[in-house]
């Protein structure tokens, strides 16, 4: 029962580089989410997806790109990383609407130098 796996778990990169964080879920949940966790801000939604090929912006989408060609994968790309994108990134998925319960991955800690 793998659930949600994120990779890499830790990443150090430099300003201006492109970085992709991977997220894979084994439950076939239709909804998937990317959050970033920063001290004092809690979790803020970057992007979410209701199904394959359907994505929408969250609270802080600038500087990020997502895609969802398959239900089980939801990669997050930083096209040109900035220091302000240093954060812990969590992928999550959930069952249909109304339940609201999210299942989280273990997080990807990204440092941008």
């Amino acid at each position: 029962d793998a659930g949600i796996t994120q990779s890499p778990r830790y990443k150090i990169t430099e300003t201006g580089r492109q970085v992709t964080l991977m997220c894979h879920q084994t439950w076939s949940h239709s909804y998937m989410f990317w959050y970033r966790q920063d001290l004092g801000h809690g979790l803020r939604l970057i992007y979410y997806s209701a199904a394959a090929d359907i994505t929408d912006k969250g609270e802080v989408p600038d500087g990020y790109v997502v895609s969802r060609s398959k239900t089980e994968n939801f990669p997050l790309t930083l096209e040109s990383a900035t220091r302000s994108q240093t954060s812990v990134y969590f992928c999550a998925s959930r069952l249909p609407p109304r339940t609201g319960e999210l299942f989280f991955g273990e997080g990807s800690r990204l440092t941008v130098l």
Binding site: Y31, F33, Y35, G40, H41, G42, L43, R44, L45, Y48, A50, G58, F90, A92, P97, R98, G100, E101, L102, F104, G105, E106, G107
Partner: protein, 115 residues
């Protein structure tokens, strides 16, 4: 837009002390409410949730929360904390209108329980 406030950023307790963490939300409609917990080095997991019915909900590990609609609050409680309860606790709210919207999280409360 909905928002969630957790006024206690860091709470330090001794083992066996009682716990109450505050959570207030702002939203005029019907809401679903959640508490998530993040143990050190781990991912977030659901502690308890409220959708409707009895405003006093019980979750895992002896935690409970009370929904007080008139106060827009959903405070988390535990009668006697343990060292293993050291974690960060997040309150979250989503509207129950049926739209496919995400949760809005509070900024979190770090709980440290001293042995």
């Amino acid at each position: 837009a909905q928002s969630v406030s957790q006024h206690n950023h860091h709470v330090i307790l001794s083992e066996a002390a009682s716990l109450e963490l505050g959570c207030n939300y702002s939203y005029g409609g019907t809401v679903n409410l959640f508490w998530y917990v993040q143990y050190p080095g781990q991912h977030l997991q659901l502690l308890l949730k409220y959708f409707s019915g009895d405003p006093l909900v019980k979750g895992i590990k002896g935690f409970e929360a009370e929904f007080i609609k008139s106060k827009f609050s959903f405070n988390l409680r535990k009668p006697s904390v343990q060292w293993s309860d050291t974690a960060e606790y997040f309150c979250a709210v989503t509207d129950s209108s049926g739209s496919a919207r995400q949760l809005t999280f509070g900024s979190g409360t770090q709980l440290t329980v001293l042995p």
